[in-house]
Every structure is written in structure tokens, then in C-alpha cells.
Amino acid sequence: MVDLRVKIGRMTLRNPVMPASGTFSEGLARVFSFDHLGAVVTKTITAERRGGNPTPRVAEVGQGMLNSIGIPSKGVINFIDHIMPEYAACSAPLVVSVSAPTAEAFADIVRQLNVPGIAAIEANISCPNIEEDGKAFAMRAKSTAVVVDQLRKATTLPLWVKLTPNTGDVGAVAQAAQDNGADALVVANTILAMSIDTETFRPRLGSIMGGYSGPAIKPIVLRMVYQCAQAVDIPIIGCGGIAATEDAVEYMLAGAAAVQVGTATFVKPNAMLDVVDGLTRFCQRKGIAKVSDLTGAVLDRGMTVDQLEALP
């Protein structure tokens, strides 16, 4: 038998497959049992009740989609009282994604979540930092350092930090997160993008721009996982365009210890289960005893990124 277990810091997951925040909810329990998953990750919650963006909130673009859901949230109290109980019977560890507009508010919400039943915190620091110029914390190493430091002081739970791909320097951001106490990185959130209806001349999303996700973004985020794996020692959870077993393998080869499946679940609700089963078959066929042996196993020895030529 193939050993599918993977370690993310001090947590051991049954297998490396989990949902991406915001692409998963109790509704999926009508299709399959969450007990098959490595972990469950909630939609990002905020301290207060929030509305979310105007519609249309979704646009299909090529092999992917744009979304401008925003972070509608009923607040942290509602989460603890009403959403958490729904996951109580589920054997997969519950990872709670949180967000806030300031480092202090981030620390606050994390403190409130210091309750039994939560296995880890995923800090979605791809959201704007209103104390600086509104740019997402994770766009710069400095603001990442500040917010992760506060988060680390606010919780003893494992702290996963979710990065944004909308930065020119993901390696430095990853290092700042590690240096300030992150237990793992999630790489990455959606890529800021846009689409315009050429018949009506109107943006196809109600909030003009939105986040690009799905298979189309995989080569970009995969590159970032590879870069982060070279910059840090903490585990990386790859997330971006994973739809099938080979995609998960590709991310693990690049350096991911585990993976999150997002948009693919909308198109193939059983995608996560397929990947779990597929990983077993893949490892069997290749004679790999432990799926964790795939992590970082890309054969890039002797190859070099030609600094002068990688960017045309």
C-alpha cells in the first residue's frame, strides 16, 4: 500500500489533498464524505459581517474563471456558533481561513478562534492592508513580516500563511512569512485579472477586476511554488489550477508537501477524491512507497535557470 500521509509542520494529514478556501462548503457533503480529505479549509471569514461584491461575480475565461466574490462573511461569532458544528462529525482536520484589513485586526480574529475543533489557521494575507496603501499584505515582504509576526503572537495553533501571486517577488515574501513564524505556506491565491464584454463594452465582473483561477493559471503558480521551495524550509501547500492527479504530482515535484483543489471542484465536484485515488495509483505504478517522496523530487540537478535569459 502507498502511504499517502503527509506532514505539515506538527500536523499529519491522512493525504495531501484538501479544498482551497472559498471553493468548498457543506454543500459538497451532498456529493461525497469529507472523511476522504486530508483536511477541510473554510471560506475566509472576517471579524465582522460583510456583504461581498456586486454581481456579476463570475466570468468564464478560457480554461478558467474570474471571480469577484469578495469576502462575504457572517462574522466570527456566527462561524463558531453555526458553521463549526456542521464540521464536528467530520474526521478531517478543520482549517479556518481568516482575513482582516490590519495586522491588529488579524491578530484579534485569530485570538477569537482559539477554540477546540480548529486544527489550524490559514491567514489569507492576499487581502488589502488598509493601513498602508491598500496593497495586499502579501505583495511585499515587509508588510508580510509585520502581519505574520502579530499572528504568530496571537495563536498557538499551526499557522498557514496564504500568499498572493500578484507580486514580483514571491520568494522574499515567503521568506518573510517563514522568518516571522509561519508553519506552512499556501501558494497561492487568485491572479488579478479582467475581462470586457465586447458587445456591451462593460466589464464582465460587477467590480471590474477579479481573481483568475483554474487550469490556465497552473504554470504561473507552479513556478511560484518552485521559487518558494528554494526560499524556505517550511512546508508549502500548492494551490492553483489543480484539476487532476498529474497536476497534484506536478506541484509536489516542484516542492509542495500538499495541495489544494479550488475551481476544479466547481467543474468536477469529485475532483478531490479523484486526485486522492489517482495519487495512490500513480505511486503504485511508479513504485513510490510514500507520496511524500514526491515533494521536491523534480529532476533539475545540473539544470540552471539562465538568469540572463529566463525572462525574454
Partner: protein, 287 residues
């Protein structure tokens, strides 16, 4: 003008979805039995989908994978209302209008092909056994959603009057099907001006006066929905409307499909896929 009738409106209890009803949604590959053009714009698709799909009822929908073609590579699935379920054959039917990338792809399916379907999804129409007369007002592709409702009502001995609206006579869908279910059918078209809301309002008022109406049902036109809301409010006739919104997951996960609804304290956003697609007419807002 009529004054409001003295009958008191009854509240239909739309059963909320249970927290985690175990595996009542099927994610399955369905065989195409047939897929034929109905007229210049509409196609009729029949899939073999025994199992959970057979539980589908009027107003519910499936999220259907649409094939890639030379020109189009639809990525997301497309929600399609249940047009008919034939349990004896294990078949489920859809009626769709060829509009964009997804439906162009669907139209290339041939008998013997298969495609992935997820469902049944959402909440269907609810009928109160005490009702005697209902009025169904639909337009365009909305008629696909309403057609099975007429049969459901007939099975329960509820009399149906169907006002079917379209651009032209040639494009009115399902007239025979409504008629076969025993419904009284009135066709209104843009062509002869009869689809004008003022005219439809006159028809409704006549109906209410003559035999009363216990509930209104509608789908496919914002103008008709607003008309029914207004008339319904005046006469305290409750109603249900099946709504559309762009979707991704169909399962309540993505929050793409929200619309505003009137709620006790102002407006409230609800997801069309799991909180609907059938909503109380009184709470639905213009789109």
C-alpha cells in the same frame, strides 16, 4: 377594476435543505439518448440518468458539462432546468436555447455520446394540496422550467391556466405539453401585441374574477415577474418565481449566484443555486 378578494392567502412552507442530507446529489456521466433541434433556436436533450436523477422535480436543475467544439471551449458547467423526468425509462429531458459557448457545445452532442451531469440541484416548486387553481405565466426558455410544473399540478388535481409568452407563435415552446396536462393555455406574442404586460394584466384580472387564483408561478421574464408581484400583492395571491443567475458550482460553495431579495430588515443576498432557484414571489426583486 376589481378589488382584492376576501380569501386569505396561505403560506406555502418551502422546506429548507437539510444541513447535510447524505449524498442526495449525483455527479455522474449520462448517456445521450437524443438531442434534437426543436426550432431554429431550441434543442431538446434526453439523457439516460437513472438513480438520483430520477428524484428531480419541477423547478430543480442540473449542472451540465458542455463539450468543446472547434470554436468554443466552455469551461464551467451550465445550469439547465429539468424539463421532464421519465422514471419508467430512467430518462431526464432538458430544453435549451442555443445562446453562447456552452449551449453551442451542448448542441453538438449526438445520441451515444455522454456528458457529465450534477444534480438534482436546488429547490423546486412547491404545491399546496389545498389549492384549486393556479396560474402559470412564462416566457422564452422559462417555459422549459414551468412545463413540468403543469403536470405536477395536474397529478394533484390542481387546475392550471398557462399564459405562454414569446416573440412569435413559432417560438412558443411546449404548448401541446401544457395542453396535454389538462392546462388551459393562452398564447401571447410580441408579434400580435398580446404579450404586452397591460394585456397580460387584463387577462389575469379576468381570471381572478372568474374563478380565482390560489397562486402564481413564473419564470423567464422580469417584466412578467414584476406584473405578477404587483397583481399578487393587490389580491394577496402568493406566488413562486424560478430565477436565473450566473453560476459556477451549483452547490452553494462559490457565492457567485447571489441576488438581492427583500427580507424583514431590508434586502438580503441569497444564492440562487441552493436558496432557490424557486423563491417566493413576494421576496423576489427586479433583475
Amino acid at each position: 377594476m376589481l378589488s382584492a378578494p376576501p380569501v386569505e392567502a396561505e403560506t406555502v412552507e418551502v422546506a429548507p435543505i437539510e444541513a447535510s442530507p447524505a449524498f442526495d446529489v449525483a455527479d455522474t456521466q449520462a448517456l445521450v439518448m437524443s438531442n434534437t433541434a426543436v426550432n431554429g433556436e431550441y434543442f431538446h436533450l434526453t439523457l439516460a440518468a437513472a438513480g438520483l436523477a430520477m428524484n428531480a422535480k419541477a423547478g430543480q436543475f442540473f449542472n451540465i458539462a458542455c463539450p468543446a467544439t472547434d470554436k468554443d471551449l466552455p469551461y464551467l458547467r451550465r445550469p439547465m432546468s429539468v424539463y421532464r423526468v421519465v422514471p419508467s425509462k430512467g430518462e431526464i429531458e432538458f430544453l435549451y436555447k442555443v445562446t453562447g459557448a456552452g449551449t453551442r457545445g451542448l448542441a453538438t452532442l449526438r445520441a451515444g455520446d455522454s456528458t457529465a451531469v450534477l444534480g438534482p440541484l436546488g429547490n423546486g416548486f412547491e404545491l399546496n394540496p389545498r389549492w384549486k387553481n393556479i396560474v402559470v405565466v412564462g416566457r422564452g426558455v422559462g417555459l422549459a422550467t414551468l412545463a413540468p410544473l403543469a403536470e405536477m399540478a395536474a397529478e394533484r388535481g390542481i387546475k392550471v391556466t398557462a399564459i405562454l409568452s414569446a416573440r412569435s407563435r413559432g417560438l412558443v415552446m411546449s404548448v401541446e405539453r401544457f395542453a396535454a396536462s389538462g392546462a388551459r393555455v393562452e398564447v401571447v406574442t410580441d408579434e400580435d401585441g398580446s404579450s404586452d404586460p397591460d394585456n397580460v394584466e387584463r387577462m389575469l384580472l379576468r381570471l381572478i374574477e372568474k374563478e380565482g387564483a390560489d397562486a402564481f408561478f413564473t419564470c423567464g421574464s422580469n417584466r412578467l415577474m414584476l406584473l405578477l408581484k404587483r397583481v399578487g400583492a393587490t389580491f394577496q395571491i402568493q406566488g413562486q418565481v424560478a430565477m436565473e443567475q450566473q453560476m459556477a458550482c451549483g452547490l452553494g460553495m462559490c457565492f457567485c449566484c447571489v441576488r438581492n431579495f427583500s427580507a424583514p430588515n431590508g434586502t438580503e443576498q441569497r444564492r440562487v443555486c441552493v436558496d432557490g432557484p424557486v423563491f417566493p414571489l413576494s421576496e423576489a426583486l427586479s433583475w
